[in-house]
């Protein structure tokens, strides 16, 4: 097959980890006889520096016409202490999600046997954890009306959801549950929020279309607790944008493998794949960033194209590297630490 992939390296360590994911993906393409045409485009702080906006129209054109987007990370410390600066990298992220219609953020959290002891949680609590969050990504309080009144002394953010927005996300959740253990947890705050009550009644009404799926409804505060207590009791979880932001980050650290966690954002047409870690500015240019989460994001991309064998080959290479100790310093644990490039080379050579 032939693919056009928009390559949004972004800021910080973004370009370095993206480089390695490209290297490993090219090895896959070679082995399985595909052709990948990588199309680089600007986004984030580097786009602000270059053209004044974090998600330029040219970048959007490239993304919208590509078969998929592979994304690194965005963010730069110079924007960190001024969240109300007129132009900020995060705005690019939100605009990109909205304009590409990326309404479903898929965030798996799983454990690697060789990394179990890296978790802040006790081994017996996390063993076997393999859950996936489906976070709604283009609605809710992120995109509702917001502003000031009373000369700036009152601020508001409106959280809005339509039934159709809930349905399309929940549909992906039910479908995913059908391919896994057929357990779906809908996370909301229906004892307080009207949007949550809409979520709950919408999902309840869909249950009859998926008679094999067992659905549970839990309040977001209870899930924040149980994720730490018994993460392996969850399978597929669906939730709205803000709850998903908080809970997926919480979930990402329980496995102890945060530097390895990939994600996908699915939309109407094009999908986007990115590691969940950020731009990690302090590590920029040092050849120490862990490229594995980005490689695993590329694996999700292949699988999303229906190329399961290709995805599996990438995952197997990562597992092999972990077992062989071919890892960056975050995982080296006093042992030898390899560079970003060296890990990428090893993975490509082992495809």
């Amino acid at each position: 097959m032939k693919f056009n992939i928009a390559l949004l390296a972004g800021d910080g360590i973004g370009p370095e980890v993206i480089n390695e994911a490209v290297k490993v993906s090219d090895a896959i393409a070679k082995k399985f006889n595909h052709e990948i045409n990588w199309i680089p485009a600007l986004t984030g702080a580097c786009a602000i520096d270059a053209v004044g906006v974090p998600y330029p129209d040219e970048t959007h054109e490239i993304c919208v016409n590509a078969d998929a987007v592979l994304f690194g990370a965005i963010g730069h410390p110079k924007y960190d202490n001024d969240p109300s600066a007129p132009v900020r990298p995060e705005q690019g992220l939100l605009l990109m999600r909205k304009k590409l219609g990326l309404f479903a953020n898929v965030r798996p959290t799983f454990t690697f046997p060789s990394l179990l002891d890296k978790s802040p949680l006790k081994r017996e609590r996390i063993e076997g954890t393999d859950l996936v969050f489906l976070r709604e990504l283009t609605g809710g309080i992120y995109f509702g009306e917001k502003g000031r009144k009373d000369g700036g002394d009152t601020a508001f953010d409106n959280c809005v959801y339509t039934r159709e927005e809930v349905q399309r996300l929940a549909k992906k959740g039910f479908e995913l549950a059908m391919t896994r253990s057929k357990k779906l947890c809908c996370v909301d705050k229906a004892n307080v929020m009207e949007t949550s009550r809409l979520w709950r009644e919408t999902v309840q009404a869909m249950e009859k279309d998926y008679p094999e799926v067992t659905v549970s409804y839990e309040f977001v505060d209870a899930v924040a607790m149980r994720l730490v207590q018994w993460p392996n009791s969850y399978d597929v979880l669906i939730t709205e944008n803000l709850f998903g932001d908080i809970l997926t980050d919480e979930a990402s650290v329980i496995s102890g493998s945060m530097g390895l966690m990939p994600s996908a954002s699915m939309g109407a047409k094009v999908s986007l794949f990115e590691p969940i870690h950020g731009s990690y500015p302090q590590a920029t240019g040092l050849n120490i960033a862990n490229p594995m989460a980005t490689v695993l994001s590329a694996a999700m991309m292949f699988e999303n194209f229906g190329l399961m064998e290709e995805g599996k080959a990438m995952r197997d290479a990562v597992n092999k590297a972990l077992e062989a100790g071919i890892v960056t310093e975050d995982l080296a644990d006093g042992g030898k630490a390899y560079g970003t490039k060296e890990v990428g080379d090893w993975l490509a050579a082992n495809i």
Copy 2:
């Protein structure tokens, strides 16, 4: 001294744990020569059953005229699967918070040396954890306008904050930080929400009045992660209502002592003290509920009256009981489990 304390036992195990807290408080009153006049009042599911509303006017009258409120728990399973039922116990809770002006919810999370191994987290991660959340409790998305449009197909919840609401909460945070390690963390989502930007700018403007306090600003998703990774890196945290709901519950499980965690809700005049655990309906009437969190809530009440020695005497009794193994089944760990009443008796006898 002479006190009138409104006694809201509530539902489930509420009455049982409240009984023991009364017993231990009476022992304190006797020892330190105080007089406590307990005034029982209805709230929660039992109030709905009795008079049709979860927070009756008579109860409010009693609370508003008392020196403090001691609260058990509310909630009953018959309301759990119907969050949109016209009358629900939680509405009583929200109404009570609003009408009593309880804008600051104080939720400490700390470890008991003898219970460290109960935590889902590894010992070295939680040792020394001693943090306090100040959660705003009468504003934000809980109390903003909410409803439906488009014939029910669109739902909305408005999150609103005024500068003054932020100031009065933050003031308590700065003051608390001054009595502790002088570290204050303001938790928000200022990269997305306008209310968060108001929070951040308001707290920033107050920094000059507390030159000794070091303030950090962190996004709620990052805090959800770091709470699991390094809970002992936090001291005082201030945050808005919904973030506080999620994060305080998350924090409560990391110590492994959730059944021991007290809380206070402070307002303009009267303050309310309650254990953070819920009504635990399955345990109702079985004499197995752990009364210690309620006893420690009563200790916070005495301390709030400025009676530090009295508070300390209650805490010391709880520590002694833990060390002596005079505990309910949740903490018995295969050893002998005492009943709710027996633990209360032991604590009262050891004042």
